[in-house]
């Protein structure tokens, strides 16, 4: 028996039918991590305590919803007693004294956190090339990027090492790597999942979510990840449905919004036809396509690249070498302590964003940049509100193409920023959005994005699951269809 490429659903069945012990599962995960060490998907492993947990579960079986399910945690979540680096040199020695609410929620549901996954430094990047701990490779091709920033998580799931991983998404950091690695991932509504213990990049945009092989598994994970948390003022005190409940609802009569303002001209024909084929698939599932307009969509990327760096420039000020993390050696005075610590500790992309952010917030520029960006952000949100009065979901390609080669965009930040062209608007509007595999171009997977209305993760999971009952793109692996 193997758990490689298995879904959570399948592993749960294997456990309940005693085809495999919890310990065997965890041991296989570490074997797979070993075999796939070239992927560089993990930064820190949690082997001894994971095996111990599995043994405990074998001795005292639990009926918790995710009991014994191995999960890889993005290294952006604080994990008590386990090093948490956020992909940065400045935190390469940081061991948090507490765990993120998401981590606690998943572990309380029985998940075993096998290790911390590699990521773009402070989640800033779309290719996993900005990590202090080196590139992550895409299991679909060693020269390919896995996407970012949750690249380690996406790579680990795509390689079949774990059935599930946590991710975070500020501008597409769950959906874009999900698309490039051929897996399913969802960014919930802003406020669904507590941000307590997530190392902040852009506080008003950051949201954690699950990455897995199927929409159904994402629903299982999301059931546990969501909570109203009094430790996070922006956490929503809203009813959290069981996301599995409506997953099988027929799509007949439901409406899919197709954005007519979307400029697809820069996309390859292959990419467009994959996208259009999947729209037709939904038509054959009974859904109706409706043209909608999101007139301010084209402003998403510039708006995002004002708001996110502004917040990051402030959020990252605490990394000053005074209290935790790396401190430069022998500074001659306080100013040098700051300058050297931050110069040595941060990578280029992080520095670039701190500079942009400091600039747009500075006196005299605030109104022209930050304030204006917030105004545009409200317009974008309003566009979505209007669109959702007509449709149940909105679909776009997740990415402009399949995985690109390592090194091909890293020297051109603008090209890299455009990677998030389709995903960013959901963050700006606070809406839930999912990516799921919908095609394969030159043996490289690509994803479809389904954006849902506020708090309506159930509907996008329903669309995703129904699509996956009819197609098998989610069953493609680098080693063939499973």
């Amino acid at each position: 028996m193997t758990i490689k490429y298995k879904t959570i659903k399948e592993i749960k069945k294997m456990i309940s039918q005693k085809e495999i012990s919890n310990k065997e599962i965890v041991e296989e995960v570490y074997k797979l991590i070993d075999e796939n060490s070239d992927l560089n998907a993990f930064v820190t492993l949690n082997k001894d305590s994971s095996i111990k947990k599995a043994e405990d579960l074998d001795n005292n079986p639990s009926d918790s919803s995710l009991a014994g399910i191995p999960i890889a945690q993005k290294d952006l979540f604080c994990t008590k007693g386990i090093r948490t680096t956020c992909g940065s040199k400045i935190l390469d020695n940081f061991i948090p004294p507490y765990s993120a609410t998401v981590i606690e929620n998943l572990e309380n549901a029985g998940c075993i956190s096998v290790g911390k996954t590699n990521m773009d430094e402070f989640a800033m990047g779309s290719s996993n090339e900005t990590s202090f701990f080196g590139n992550v490779h895409n299991p679909w091709g060693e020269k390919l990027v896995p996407g970012g920033s949750s690249g380690g998580s996406a790579s680990a799931v795509a390689a079949g090492i774990v059935p599930a991983a946590s991710g975070t998404d500020t501008g597409g950091s769950i959906r874009q790597p999900a698309s490039l690695c051929g897996i399913t991932g969802i960014k919930p509504t802003y406020g669904r999942v507590s941000r307590w213990g997530m190392i902040a990049f852009a506080s008003s945009l950051d949201q954690a979510g699950p990455m897995a092989r199927t929409a159904e598994d994402c629903a299982l994970l999301l059931n546990e990840m969501c909570s109203h948390d009094i430790k996070d003022t922006t956490s929503l005190d809203e009813n959290i449905p069981n996301f599995e409940d409506s997953i099988n609802e027929p799509l007949k009569g439901k409406k899919v919004g197709v954005v007519k303002d979307l400029d697809l001209s820069s996309l390859d024909d292959d990419v467009i036809s994959v996208y259009e084929n999947s729209l037709q698939e939904f038509v054959s599932l009974g859904a109706e396509l409706v043209n909608i307009s999101l007139p301010n969509l084209s402003l998403s990327v510039p708006t995002y690249y004002v708001v996110a760096p502004a917040e990051c420039s402030s959020n990252l000020s605490r990394f000053d070498g005074v209290k935790f993390g790396r401190r430069s050696e022998n500074p001659k005075d306080l100013e040098e302590l700051y300058i050297q610590t931050r110069s040595e500790g941060f990578g280029d992309e992080v520095k670039r964003r701190i500079l942009i952010g400091s600039y747009v917030l500075s006196a005299g520029y605030y109104d022209a940049y930050y304030k204006k960006a917030q105004q545009v952000r409200r317009l974008i949100k309003k566009d979505f509100d209007e669109a959702f009065s007509d449709v149940d979901v909105i679909m776009t390609p997740t990415t402009r193409g399949p995985a690109f080669e390592i090194g091909s965009k890293v020297s051109d930040p603008i090209q890299m920023y455009l990677e998030d062209l389709f995903t960013i608007s959901a963050n700006l509007a606070g809406l839930p959005a999912m990516s799921l595999p919908n095609g394969n171009i030159d043996n490289r997977p690509i994803g479809l994005q389904i954006i849902g209305n506020f708090l309506d993760e159930s509907t996008i999971l329903n669309f995703g699951h129904m699509y996956q009952t009819k197609t098998n793109w989610h069953m493609f692996t680098p080693e063939g269809v499973k």
């Binding site: 979540f77 507490y98 502004a310 990394f319 209290k323 935790f324 605030y366």
Partner: protein
């Protein structure tokens, strides 16, 4: 040339909440370094602030007491700057939408009462402390204070002298202590202030360039620092130079202000709305509840003391001048029927002692119970007023019980009229010369006889009885 001074004060009052503004960390003063610091206060990666509503309630009390507008929706911003005792690299404060705006307070100045407007009062978190003198060549950081709620009270630039600035500060201090929102302890830094000072030619409409004097924490230093600064600015201008906008530090040892940084070197704080916190909404019900439970304010107390208790206005003013004084008055009054006598003693002997030792009444050994008892013993004629003074002195020294002092020292007043008459006769018999002189018209000698009787009784004779007996015998 004559000059006018324009002063504005920014007073930071630490709000007396149990926990910090954005965390459950304790705000207690004086604990061992870095022991009242939780994850949020440390600014660890991933932590988030959660608003302590209690701080808002206290700020609102201040707003209501100064007749201000309360913003029922207020919000927080980040003020970004680097400093070792600022754990997050930014301070969370209320820049754009403060909880309190447009209040005012009456201040007693040499020219009479003056209304000084309060521009705004906003909530913000305090920083920690940098400790420079404890470690050779190194600086220590103590984060106990980090995150303590501060109410920053900003006055309009309407104060026109150092004395008036002190009077304003005193009025604010009196108010916040009466409101029970700040302990007013300046030595512990519970109240600190920054002073903006500028001068202009008499009659000019336009304000001069101001200097900001930082972080002064005693009334004495406020006055000295402002006076120094006024003179400095006059000197600068009269020398044909101009005052530059800058932050200056007052050095109390040398009694001078020194430039810290000029406007050009000043931080660009890059304020922006704090994305971790939603706007804080105060409901009508919350607001009404705070309004209904506002404590009696100094002015209200003062007029009640006059109209209901019948105190002299001057007495009422002194007694309502501080919360500790008013508390002492009201509590002691509940122990005795002679409330006017309570007031008389508070304003007289007790105030004299407070001045002499330069302390507040709640720092003394005198408890309201003991004080009430002392008044009771005077009014029931157990002891005379004169004896009471010596009893008070002993209580002042060691806090002993009034009745115990009276008993052990045998201070009970002699009421027995026949005994007093015997003593009076003896005095008259042994001072025949004085008796003759008195009878021949030297009225002033009456006091001599009273003194002699008191001497014989070691001051324990009831003075009223002694007077009556002597008058009768000396006829």
């Amino acid at each position: 040339m004559s000059w006018e001074t324009v002063i504005g004060l920014e007073i930071h009052a630490q709000l007396s909440t149990k926990s910090k503004l954005f965390s459950g960390g304790s705000t207690e003063f004086g604990a061992e370094s870095n022991t009242h610091v939780d994850l949020v206060d440390m600014g660890l990666p991933g932590v988030l602030p959660v608003v302590n509503k209690e701080a808002f309630y206290k700020a609102i009390r201040f707003g209501l007491a100064t007749g201000a507008e309360i913003n029922q929706v207020s919000s927080f911003d980040r003020k970004n700057y680097f400093y070792p005792d600022l754990p997050k690299g930014y301070q969370i404060t209320q820049m754009t939408k403060p909880i309190v705006e447009k209040g005012s307070i009456k201040v007693l100045t040499d020219e009479g009462e003056k209304l000084i407007n309060i521009t705004r009062a906003h909530l913000e978190e305090d920083a920690g402390k940098s400790i420079h003198d404890l470690f050779e060549g190194e600086t220590g950081v103590d984060l106990n204070r980090a995150g303590t709620p501060l109410l920053e009270i900003v006055s309009e630039p309407e104060i026109s002298s150092a004395k008036e600035a002190v009077a304003y500060f005193k009025a604010i201090r009196q108010l916040v202590t009466f409101l029970d929102i700040c302990d007013g302890n300046m030595a512990q830094g519970s109240m600190r202030c920054d002073v903006n000072v500028s001068i202009k030619k008499s009659g000019d409409k336009e304000l001069g360039t101001r200097a900001e004097l930082k972080n002064i924490n005693s009334f004495k230093f406020i006055e000295k620092a402002i006076n120094y600064e006024i003179e400095r600015q006059i000197r600068v201008i009269e020398n044909g130079e101009s005052v530059i906008q800058e932050t200056r530090l007052y050095d109390s040892d040398k009694n001078e202000t020194r430039s810290m940084r000029s406007k050009e070197e000043a931080n660009d704080y890059r304020y922006f709305p704090c994305p971790d916190l939603l706007p804080v909404v105060i409901s009508d019900k919350e607001l009404q509840e705070i309004r209904d439970n506002l404590p009696e304010l100094p002015e209200e107390k003062e007029s009640r003391y006059v109209s209901e208790i019948g105190l002299e206005e001057s007495e009422a003013k002194i007694i309502s001048s501080s919360k500790a004084m008013a508390n002492m008055f009201e509590e002691a009054s509940s122990k005795t029927d002679d409330i006017k006598l309570v007031a008389k003693w508070l304003v007289g002997d007790i105030s004299a002692l407070l001045n002499k030792y330069n302390i507040e009444i709640d720092e003394s050994n005198l408890s309201p119970e003991n004080f009430g008892k002392l008044i009771e013993r005077i009014s029931d004629n157990t002891i005379s007023g004169k004896i009471a003074k010596s009893v008070l002195e002993e209580v002042w020294d060691n806090g002993s019980d009034v009745d115990e002092i009276i008993q052990t020292k045998g201070l009970v007043q002699i009421q027995d009229e026949s005994l007093l008459e015997d003593i009076a006769r003896k005095v008259i018999d042994s001072n025949s010369d004085q008796v003759a002189a008195y009878r021949s018209g030297k009225d002033k000698l009456f006091g001599f006889f009273v003194g002699q009787v008191m001497k014989e009784t070691q001051g324990k004779a009831n003075p009223k009885s002694v007077n009556e007996i002597l008058k009768k015998l000396l006829k």
